[in-house]
């Protein structure tokens, strides 16, 4: 288990500050955030490459905060994989194995088997494809018998075809490896679908500060800040609470009233709010009659105009302009084709009240 408490380190004007989380054995913590938010710096602090100013890093009950990297037993895979050039795959892995404490040859063979790199052992690392380098780098990190595994954007250097292979099949292999070795894994990525499928926990980092950490589902369902909602690609709208009635908030957003569910009539938060709606929670209809037969205060119906739409796999991503503001919606390709809507056409959107999240405004 790894416990990180109030970690702080500065690099020029950038500071990683007050970072706290813990990751149990066999759990994968995904750290997401924009470029320059401090993901790599965080991993470098844990691996010992970067000096920590204050705070604590505890791995398996051992305080490693000020230990040199070689005494931490951390497996680290940087985004460029960091394989030693001019050496074979075997040499790279044996260099790690030689320093592993308590790892048997059978375990090493298991790593080689799980990561499917047996045939690559005699090859020079420069001759490997990016996907092969990724697997060798993970194998090398595991061959050092680490107490925690750190992976810095392991899929960022993959070409689109390998990335697609990773998404289709290798993700399961990675999961198997993580389960087999039962160590805490900290994994940074930009890719939200990848975060969802690989991770157990999710931390969102912005400008050196972790804005939210929780289970993957919790963070995706209940983003705690405006930044997280925007980073996850949700609709984020500024509004003003105009009425609270029967466990519902009525919020004015650019002269349109949205209904959101709330617990009780006592909405004590400020009147200025931020409304968060996931694109998947917006239902599109071509005519008003087709709308749901729920009570009127359980959903909001708005009329808008399709600005643009594009297809990604089996999903249609549609931008609808409603009363001067844009809403991103996602719907199944079948449904979108039935609607027969094209840019410039009128369309109705329905937003269920219980799917509308309301956050206090940061203004």
């Amino acid at each position: 288990m790894i416990v990180v408490r109030n970690l702080r380190t500065c690099l020029g004007s950038f500071c990683l500050d007050n970072v706290s989380f813990d990751v149990a054995d066999g759990t994968v913590l995904i750290v997401v955030g924009p470029n320059g938010s401090g993901k790599t710096t965080l991993l470098e602090c844990i691996s010992g490459i970067r000096r920590v100013e204050s705070g604590k890093i505890v791995i398996d009950d051992i305080d490693v905060t000020y230990l040199p990297p070689e005494r931490r037993r951390v497996g680290y895979v940087p985004s460029d994989y960091g394989l030693f050039p001019g050496m074979t795959v075997e040499k790279n892995i044996l260099l790690a194995f030689r320093k592993s404490k308590g790892m048997t040859l059978e375990q090493l063979q298991r790593i080689v088997h799980l990561l499917q790199i047996g045939e690559l052992m005699g090859k020079n690392v420069e001759s490997l494809s990016s996907g092969q380098k990724q697997r060798v780098a993970i194998a090398r990190a595991l061959a050092s018998n680490p107490r925690v595994l750190l992976l810095d954007e392991p899929t960022s250097a993959l070409d689109p075809a390998t990335k697609e292979y990773f998404k289709r099949s290798f993700r399961a292999v990675i999961k198997d490896v993580f389960n087999d070795f039962n160590v805490p894994v900290i994994y940074t990525t930009h890719d939200l679908p990848e975060a969802r499928s690989v991770g157990d926990k999710l931390a969102v980092i912005n400008d050196g500060v972790i804005e939210q950490v929780g289970s993957v589902n919790e963070v995706f369902e209940n983003p705690r800040t405006r930044f997280i909602a925007e980073f996850l690609g949700y609709n984020v709208l500024e509004g003003h609470v105009i009425a609270v009635r029967d466990n519902h908030l009525f919020i004015n957003v650019k002269n349109v009233t949205l209904v959101a569910q709330c617990a009780g009539n006592g909405w004590n938060a400020p009147k200025d709010v931020i409304v968060v709606i996931k694109p998947q929670d917006i239902t599109l209809f071509s005519a008003k009659e087709q709308l749901s037969s729920h009570r009127r205060d359980e959903y909001t119906v708005l009329r808008g105009v399709v600005r643009n739409a594009h297809i990604e796999g089996s999903t249609a991503k549609v931008e609808v302009v409603v009363n001067g503001f844009s809403l991103k919606a996602e719907t199944g390709l079948d449904h979108w084709e039935r609607l027969r809507a094209k840019p410039g056409d009128g369309i109705y959107v329905q937003i269920d009240a219980f799917k509308v999240k309301v956050l206090p405004s940061t203004k």
Binding site: R72, G82, F84, M87, A96, K99
Partner: protein
């Protein structure tokens, strides 16, 4: 870029050709004084044999000392920032532009006039007009070159490989020995070869400190000087061709190693 036939390019090629022809002419001209049987006789003569053996021995010693001292020093210069680093780097450049004869004269003054130098020369190792003096003279001329090449080699090895080795469980020293040195091996070999070739041809500093005593401090360049002084042009030509051949072989080998450095 392909050759484009225009006046500017033609001028460049003609000048390059003239430059090469001039050098070829200079190198070929001593051949006029050599007959095949005379050349073999000179090559097998005791004097040239002694000079060749002494040159190889002293150049090897001074190069090894330069590399052994140069490796950690160049690594420190490449990796660490410390106050006065620029001054140290500038100081290393001075021997490169200073005539070797001035360096040799300085060494002679140090070992014959400076109390510490006199103590070393009289009680530890005799350098003035002795074989160890050749090694010191070659070392002083060669070591800045060795250090500069090795620093370039270490600069070309990203520090992140050392950090990766540390994370894998290797101490700083182990990371240097097991990861940095294997990555630097081609560069180190190239630096060694180029330093050795430079040491083999060193004359000015050797002449000043070790003198030019036949069958004692007679390296190949000193032998060449002595042969020229007695107008033995055949001997001069033989020594020139020994030095040119060695330089060519070493340069080709060093270029091969340097190519491997740039590939890794």
């Amino acid at each position: 870029m392909k050759f484009q036939p225009n006046a500017f390019n033609a001028l460049n090629y003609v000048l390059l050709l003239l430059f090469l022809l001039f050098f070829l002419l200079v190198l070929v001209s001593p051949a006029a004084f050599v007959k095949p049987d005379g050349m073999i006789r000179s090559l097998l003569s005791d004097e040239i044999g002694y000079a060749l053996a002494l040159s190889i021995l002293t150049a090897t010693c001074s190069t090894l000392i330069s590399v052994v001292i140069g490796l950690p020093a160049a690594y420190a210069l490449s990796r660490f920032n410390f106050p006065g680093k620029k001054v140290v780097e500038g100081f290393l450049d001075v021997p490169l532009s200073l005539p070797p004869v001035a360096l040799g004269a300085s060494l002679l003054i140090f070992f014959s006039k400076n109390p510490l130098g006199i103590f070393i020369n009289e009680n530890l190792v005799r350098f003035v007009f002795e074989v160890p003096g050749i090694i010191v003279a070659q070392f002083v001329v060669v070591s800045p070159i060795t250090m500069k090449i090795l620093k370039e080699v270490f600069d070309g090895i990203p520090v992140r490989y050392e950090w990766m080795a540390r994370v894998l469980g290797y101490s700083h020293v182990e990371a240097f020995l097991y990861v940095v040195l294997p990555l630097a091996k081609h560069g180190v070999l190239a630096a060694t070869l180029l330093s050795w070739a430079k040491a083999l041809g060193e004359f000015g500093a050797t002449m000043m400190l070790a003198g030019a005593t036949r069958f004692k401090t007679e390296t190949l360049p000193i032998a060449l000087y002595l042969k020229l002084a007695e107008a033995d042009l055949e001997g001069v030509a033989v020594i020139i061709y020994v030095l040119v051949t060695t330089a060519c072989i070493v340069t080709i080998a060093a270029r091969k190693f340097l190519t491997k450095v740039s590939m890794t």
